[in-house]
Symmetry: C2
Subunit: 245 residues, 2 copies
DNA sequence: AATTACGTTTGATATAGGTCAAAATCCGTG
DNA sequence: CACGGATTTTGACCTATATCAAACGTAATT
């Protein structure tokens, strides 16, 4: 059996799954590591456009993204859709389904991706035995709640420019945390999907990006984007309007 | 020792706490019931305007609302505030703090209220021993995630009328679930707080309510409100605009 | 009962972002 | 490489909601 976890300065990284969010503070016995390894062993590949799960389908497992990029969306009866999040490597997806045992949203791959399936029953069982894992699971769920509240703040009180700036900086941070460039990356989603996430129309997203470009804040060409001035971008967030006077 | 739980057709209700959300499917031993009872024994009273906890303070416990009404809000650096929820009897509050051990929002009593304190360490410990409790805790957290996603949909894609209609119907449902009238109740929050929650200015809230009143959908006088036509109100939600033709 | 502070309503006007439309660009496929 | 569909950009115009301001109610306080 290969070693399930490798030591890093402050954390243990799961080698089989590359689960940033699932990385755990140390001290497990070999026995426990073995169990954790077993839990995360089922991997699966998805092509761009594939559904990881659909709203309404039965909940069995959480999914940990190994590589790739997903979006989650809820569909309103009348056809309106709301993108509720973009998920990347190391993030856990499917938490919303625990409440009813039915998935409450769709999860769609935005590029070819790999995920680890985490059967939830076994995860619960294991987390009864391993307080560290239990605590970790709770933190992951809580973090999702905090994230959602941040989006409420964004949707409820920010102007288009602020929303977009916050969005770009958030992506930047998450790429950086994974060892990619914080200042240049490829957007995996369309303007329409960005708009849905941010509560804006795609035209507004496009216009605002163009405006950022003129202002030398960013450099966009289609899906490639470079953040040229993070400081000013950061300054934009939390500005009721562009410099009161 | 008084009996901790009383049987209802499908659930067990916690007598000490009146914890709708904490009600659990049956089969606990007396021993287990005793432990649950002990967990939920610390009660506390709050006056209108009191803070249950503040953003930035250390996380120790979740709180189950026994009676009364709270709001939770996050404050942005620049002074903007976003109300992230209104909580009533039987609901659990404080889940956001688990992620960092620091409260991420304020919780403020909107009327005189009573809460049960649930020390989180002991809750985790107990839920390791009682799978039913564990599952329940997970469902509560997941339900919060689903709720938040619903609000994202509301904030991201609904017009003012829809938002308000959805808001009123949501309150109505929750009052009804607690045995109060579904069609007449007192709003515990100001127009400003409603607006913050719904991503609208207080004037827009006021105007929209006035418009609903003219349309004989509701009857408002200050904080007392009666829903006169729930069907039409429901029809409003999910309408891109008022009857296309 | 008078005073004050706070919350609400309503009106007039401004504006951010939506809508509709056309052109430009990108990308996958035969 | 050329085609066709999807995505993006840009323009012109419109509207829902914000903003500013004033009057009005309501509820707590003395």
């Amino acid at each position: 059996m290969q070693k399930a976890f490798t030591i890093t300065p402050t954390q243990i990284a799961c080698s089989s799954c590359n689960l940033r969010e699932f990385c755990l503070p140390a001290d497990f016995t070999d026995e426990e590591l073995h169990k954790l390894e077993a839990l995360t062993s089922t991997k699966r590949a998805y092509r761009r456009g594939d559904y990881l799960y659909r709203s309404g389908s039965k909940f069995e497992s959480l999914y940990a993204i190994r590589t790739g990029f997903f979006k989650t969306q809820v569909l309103h009866e009348d056809g309106r859709e709301q993108v509720t999040g973009f998920q990347m490597a190391g993030e856990i997806i499917g938490l919303d389904a625990i409440s009813t045992d039915i998935h409450a949203c769709d999860a769609v791959a935005l590029e070819d991706s790999e995920v680890c399936e985490l059967p939830f029953n076994r995860l619960e069982e294991l987390s009864r035995q391993l307080p560290t894992l239990q605590r970790h699971l709770h933190k992951i769920m809580s973090r999702e709640i905090v994230r959602d509240q941040g989006i409420m703040l964004l949707l409820g009180s920010m102007r288009a420019e602020e929303r977009l700036a916050a969005f770009l900086l958030n992506l930047s941070q998450r790429f950086a945390a994974r060892g990619y460039s914080a200042s240049a990356f490829r957007l995996r989603m369309t303007r329409q999907e960005i708009g849905s996430y941010l509560g804006l129309k795609l035209e507004t997203v496009s216009r605002t990006l163009s405006y950022f470009q003129e202002s030398r804040l960013i450099d966009v060409h289609n899906k490639s984007i470079a953040l040229l001035d993070m400081t000013r971008l950061l300054g934009l967030v939390g500005q009721q309007r562009a410099t009161p006077f």
